[in-house]
Assembly symmetry: C2
Homo-oligomer: 245 residues x 2
């Protein structure tokens, strides 16, 4: 692999998917949901299953938002709509879990823990490359998460800047444009083949970091997009090794 890397052009900047690639949303959300379920007497609901079912509503919500003509809505708001729908499905009434409690659960997405290699990997990669977010998370979510987890971003870019959610082409192109580089000079780093496929289609370079525990060991939902990516490393520190950082 080192041999083929040596002939490969290097990107001018690295943009990162965050949920799943840099942070472990499933374990973190389950950790926050567990005491809430206990408090409302719903310990029959598994907290990891709750996290999975909340996240399962994510992609459909983004696609619907991209198609909507009522303007861009921040992910915090979409997370709230998805949460309300899930709670309704579980038979949790509004007076069982009030507005403040629901808002706090939505903010659990601001408190996700990084994978063990994330901070060390990003810190090394930042020495050589500008590192920015190319996430669907809103700016305040990304700032809160970064401050809590110690993620050393150079800038928070992505969906809110683009006013469009990945996998919309505009999300990738607007991130490159904000950096004043061509799409092919920007490399998306992600754990998701679907995200990387959309980035490649928009002209970006791609780096795949498998996160086999993202779905608790269950297969990823986007395996049909699997292909050979420009870079492939087992961790962000591994990517730093490959990129000479």
């Amino acid at each position: 692999m080192a041999q083929s890397e040596s002939n490969r052009a290097l990107p001018k900047a690295l943009a990162f998917d965050v949920f799943g690639t840099v942070v472990d949303w499933r374990t973190s959300i389950a950790r926050e949901v567990a005491p809430v379920l206990l408090r409302i007497g719903r310990s029959d609901v598994d907290c990891h299953d709750f996290a999975d079912r909340w996240r399962a509503r994510y992609l459909p919500a983004l696609l619907a938002s991209n198609k909507s003509e009522s303007g861009f809505v921040k992910l915090d708001s979409l997370h709230r709509t998805m949460l309300d729908a899930l709670l309704l499905e579980l038979g949790v009434e509004e007076n069982t879990l009030d507005d403040a409690a629901r808002t706090d659960l939505v903010h659990a997405w601001h408190r996700l823990d990084p994978w063990p290699d994330s901070v060390a990997g990003l810190t090394r990669l930042k020495q050589r490359f500008p590192i920015v977010t190319l996430s669907n998370g809103n700016i305040s979510l990304m700032i809160n998460m970064a401050r809590r987890a110690g993620l050393p971003w150079d800038a928070i870019l992505g969906a809110e800047i683009a006013q469009a959610y990945k996998p919309a082409r505009q999300a990738y192109l607007a991130t490159a444009a904000a950096l004043d580089i061509a799409p092919e000079e920007l490399c998306l780093v992600a754990a998701h083949h679907g995200d990387l496929a959309a980035a490649r289609s928009a002209g970006l370079m791609t780096a795949f970091i498998p996160r086999p525990l993202e779905y608790g060991g269950a297969p990823a939902p986007d395996l049909s997009y699997k292909q050979e990516w420009e870079f492939h490393a087992d961790s962000l520190t591994g990517l730093a090794d490959q990129l000479g950082c």
Copy 2:
């Protein structure tokens, strides 16, 4: 002063003017311009005077851009237009200073040095408050400057995000909106009374940091906006003292 501070509400986040407040544009631009003037045989032009005359075109260019109906143009482009006009005024022909050399001079604004207290002050303030840029500089300019100077921003916000230049109200409001806080929860930190007056008019809190050397000791052009601000410190480390960081 400590007494009156103690009864004062604290902001939820700090937004910083950058040119003049965090970095010393005049000395840095003069340093970059000097060898260029020497190379083209124009050592009759003083490099600090060149910097001042370039910067003097700044506010009129921003105001014109805000009024223009042709859409937002990044500061790098405005800096180029201002540079071309100044060179024309000085009788410097296009073939004396070519496109690449002019682009490099425009990028000198990405390479400004911080004031001696800036990095230490921001690092302390960041421990307690999210710190973001609320500058007219474009995102790539702010990223390049921060990486070179070691400015530890949590996020790059301001004019490019707002698609409007300070002192337009939208520049301040869009920065608070990106942070998901009310304008009155955000404090602008700036060395310029005019900037602070516009921020206050948009509802923000204000902190004044005098930078007596910004114009090489000459009086600031916006003294008519001078008033009492919520905070007033001699340096960013002094502001950190006042805010208990």
